[in-house]
Symmetry: D2
Subunit: 339 residues, 4 copies
């Protein structure tokens, strides 16, 4: 049994940071946790996460040399542009960096800079392991810099990789994706995220191109050998959490068999042989539901549902930590819930 891990969470005050806190504060192999938040420095963590009273007893700290000093693992639940500035210092002192932001996802620096602006640590990109857990386990076991996939990317990649890998996709894929509002973060610079705007509403957005697209293309190419053309349109759901992907795939094989075979024995992937995925089936869990149905005209509908904050973010990040440190992959992630 390894000794307890010392963990630091950067960006602990956001939605993903809160989920990381909830998972890690009761993780059997995690010891002390340092919560870093520039905006809430000095305030008790429990004040901002009242559901975790009894589990969290410390205060948020400002980023400083001290907090960089001694962790076994550092999670970044920060906006893009933060992890890239701190990763090198952490790696130098043997802290494993698990980044949930986009900073280290893309291998092609030009593509990164098109979507996100200048990268300050491009020299680290080659060693970053893209952490789609179920596809990346061998590399994750020795990774010191793990780039966790985006929430849309996780769902779409898990749905498409088995089909593309089988060489069965004939033509353009269309991905109609829907996400709950927490996917946009806990931000106050947009009125469209207000309750009064979003209740009883639904809309498409970013139809001119979403920055998850190049990430998806790179990952499917990496894990399935090539990437068919894909159109990807995100929509905003009037829910706090949850993500639902309806992919329309021109396919010459049985999608259910391909999915079931590819993800056989995966603890967190349910390939449904009956019924259809629903967001309420997966929210507040680390599970993904996948299903497939043939439609007229040689097209197969492939559906993926997951919780954008868990399997799409904090849950997968902890899953990656477990793989990296040789722990049971579901440790701290198997909490049941219903309704």
């Amino acid at each position: 049994m390894p000794s307890l891990l010392k963990v630091t969470i950067f960006g602990a005050s956001g939605y993903v940071g809160a989920e990381l806190t909830a998972l890690l504060c009761r993780h059997p192999q995690v010891g002390t946790i340092t919560y870093v938040s520039r905006s809430l420095a000095g305030q008790p963590v429990a004040t901002h996460m009242p559901a975790l009273r009894g589990c969290v007893n410390s205060t948020f700290q400002a980023p400083s040399e001290e907090v960089f000093a001694e962790s076994d693992v550092a999670f970044f639940a920060t906006p893009h542009g933060v992890a890239m500035n701190s990763a090198n210092a952490l790696l130098m002192q043997n802290t494993v960096v698990i980044d949930l932001s986009p900073d280290f996802r893309l291998k092609d620096i030009a593509i990164f800079e098109k979507w996100y602006g200048q990268h300050t640590s491009p020299e680290l990109l080659p060693q970053a392991v893209y952490g789609l857990t179920e596809s990346a386990r061998p590399a994750l076991k020795n990774a010191n810099l793990i780039a966790c996939p985006g929430c849309f990317a996780t769902a779409i990649e898990l749905a498409l990789i088995p089909l593309v890998a089988a060489g069965s996709v004939n033509d353009h894929i269309i991905v109609d994706a829907k996400s709950g509002v927490s996917g946009a973060g806990k931000r106050t610079d947009r009125t469209d995220l207000l309750f009064a705007e979003q209740t009883e509403n639904f809309k498409a957005y970013a139809v001119e191109g979403h920055r998850h697209q190049p990430e998806i293309e790179q990952a499917v190419r990496q894990f399935a050998g090539h990437m068919p053309p894909m159109a990807f349109v995100p929509h905003l759901l009037p829910t706090a959490r949850g993500l639902y992907v309806s992919a329309y795939v021109p396919l010459s094989a049985d999608a259910f068999s391909l999915l079931q075979t590819h993800w056989a024995d995966e603890l967190f992937i349910d390939v449904l042989d009956d019924g259809l995925p629903e967001i309420s089936h997966v929210t507040r869990t680390n599970r993904v539901q996948l299903a497939a149905r043939p439609l007229p005209g040689g097209i197969t509908l492939v559906i993926a549902a997951l919780d954008n904050l868990l399997k799409g973010a904090a849950g997968q990040a902890v899953q990656n930590m477990n793989v990296r440190f040789g722990l049971p992959e579901d440790m701290g992630l198997s909490g049941a819930r219903t309704v």
Copy 2:
């Protein structure tokens, strides 16, 4: 000016019946209204539609010979299988029948009976006019039996007709459609419509085939000359009302121009030259929002948003009544609202 119309609403106790009531009780050319509901017979209408106090003063009546006697127009906001039994008697005494149920939508009796069971008045099908108002005005002016389109059908047809009519659709169309819960009606035989099931949820349904599909194919063929192959997948939104269609169309022309030209000067159709449709922009109005955006790979995203209970049901039915009786088409339909 014609004298005031006598109107009967069958199925007045459901969601669509309530919307018809709201529109007709303040319509300047509507006089007495008879509200028919088997389940609520004898009860005051205002008790069940408290927002309409002051506008509705009568009681629900059971269906009887009396209520069939003297109307100029009869609306059916009933489940399938009701209008087909009463239409003939009403037509015989010169009552115009405006049916919002599926009973008279399909011309092919075999297709109807596949989805809905036996039809008791197939001899009336030839004279029924399919009431997609903007495309059907000439026939509507003399129609005595009007079959109003379904809610999904209205949105999809208004989005596709201009593109198909221009001969510009090359291949399979994929329609990813989403509807609010009221689309399923005010029913208590399904637990999945309960608030506690649907809040914070989202799911696909009827992926093996939806009964609106043959209606859509027939209508596009009628108004656009032919029908390309189409896959249509409906989803259930956690909203009371609103319907959103994201159609993926392989197109060799500029969709915005086609939509704008085809629907030029239409009062209730907004072809957006800026921004994207949102459900909250159209709920509680009779308006449709359309928009188009080219995606990679020769595919165009065409979006349609409308209120399933208004433009998708009661609003379009009243619009059809206005056309039929030579009234201004927006009479009683132009009520403004915001937020």
Copy 3:
């Protein structure tokens, strides 16, 4: 028939401004409308109120001398501190000022300044008419400066005035009040108004004292002769709109009779003799629902429900305009709606 009114709306970009726009743009006696918004100046109004396309055709204007020049009526749907700076100039050129902000509600300048800070036009307070329409008609007919009640205040005053006026309230009143999120305005300086925070949530707030309290006390004293002690606790509902008041009144008389008698023949006040108020019965209408039920121990429950943006703000403001200009009181306000 008077000639059409020229209207200016200050603060047209907020929730209340949008409701005012919706009501006024189809009001039969309103002509040109000037929309003032500092933040949206130069942008088309319809872009920000897509449900009103066809009804609004102009652009937002910055506040300037020009927009002050020629209106018959100016509405202020602005935060506190704006109307007080412009009212005098408008009154000087015979523009009737209808203020929906708190600036002119309180007669006691000390109380105003305790809650809101310095008042720049205290000399105007004496002539301001407090616009609880049903109680204030005589004064409203000649008012040039109308201070519209707050949303909580409207509901509570309509519930309490008949009981207090009858001399039947014996002791402390407790008011447990709940409001939808739009009551806080379209603001981005608070994370607690985000959809992801508010869905599936409920909470009390401002329990140390709410600034509507002195307004309520002043108004009940004005219209009912005196004011019993009252404790008032507001709560935030996970709805966009709607306001619900449960008042617990130690009463020695029959509340239903008192309410029914006091508000007899009021078009917008429904005193229910059967059933209980619901928010969904009144949202998107200018109606108030009132009901009363005796509880054990000599306490009567009095309930009031209304739409905070309509009867609690924009609707009552237009009602006041109608009274002031001798128009039918429900002109532009009777639009029916259901569901």
Copy 4:
């Protein structure tokens, strides 16, 4: 360490049954679980609780002699009238009965029968232990028949007992209570629980008297010595879960001190010294948040918030099982969550 408990859940298909399942299927001291549901007999449990895949592997069983045979504990998450018919047989074979229905809550048979109809096992009432865990521990340790409190009752009793026990309540208490929709159960006999009825809605109900009232009076009398007069008005919130109580208590002492002292060191009761309870802080946990604030006029506002399905039902039931079997009281109940 005791051997693993064999558990039977009657009424496993409802909302409370699902929560019991979620808690018990990962409880470290629970072994085999039998799921009883008349309506779903023969179907896999995981089909109806997809979030629990991997945790539940059996099928629902019809109630039969077999399922009565061998449990250490039987939970009843059934409507009233079911547990009373089976309790005796279970007790005879040494199965501990933990009833979440009202069947064994009231000691006075006349009061029970006024609200619920005939009781078929009145002879068992004297031995039933009312399971408000924090107040009932000594009796629970030897109880074979445990009657778990209702959800409203749990919140109100935890808020009032410390104040009443201190002899500090002077007069009538007013309790304004609000519950999410799941409190009404997973039923299809009421249209008012449909999503389309409840979203954006709020209403009072049962104002003529709620059947939790006599239970509350009995419990406060039992645990605090006497019961002051109380008026209790429930309301329905547009949330799936959560319960919020605003109690207005005429009090001559400091409520915060009384609460904090009375519930000192209670793991699941948070007496807030800062901030106010929110439903989102406690949903999906077994925690209660309490807070108190003095209002004008000698009245103190006491707020309680909890999850109606957990601390108000399944959570407290498992807590009672833990106490009864000498297990750590929070075993299986400490799962953290956020957002």
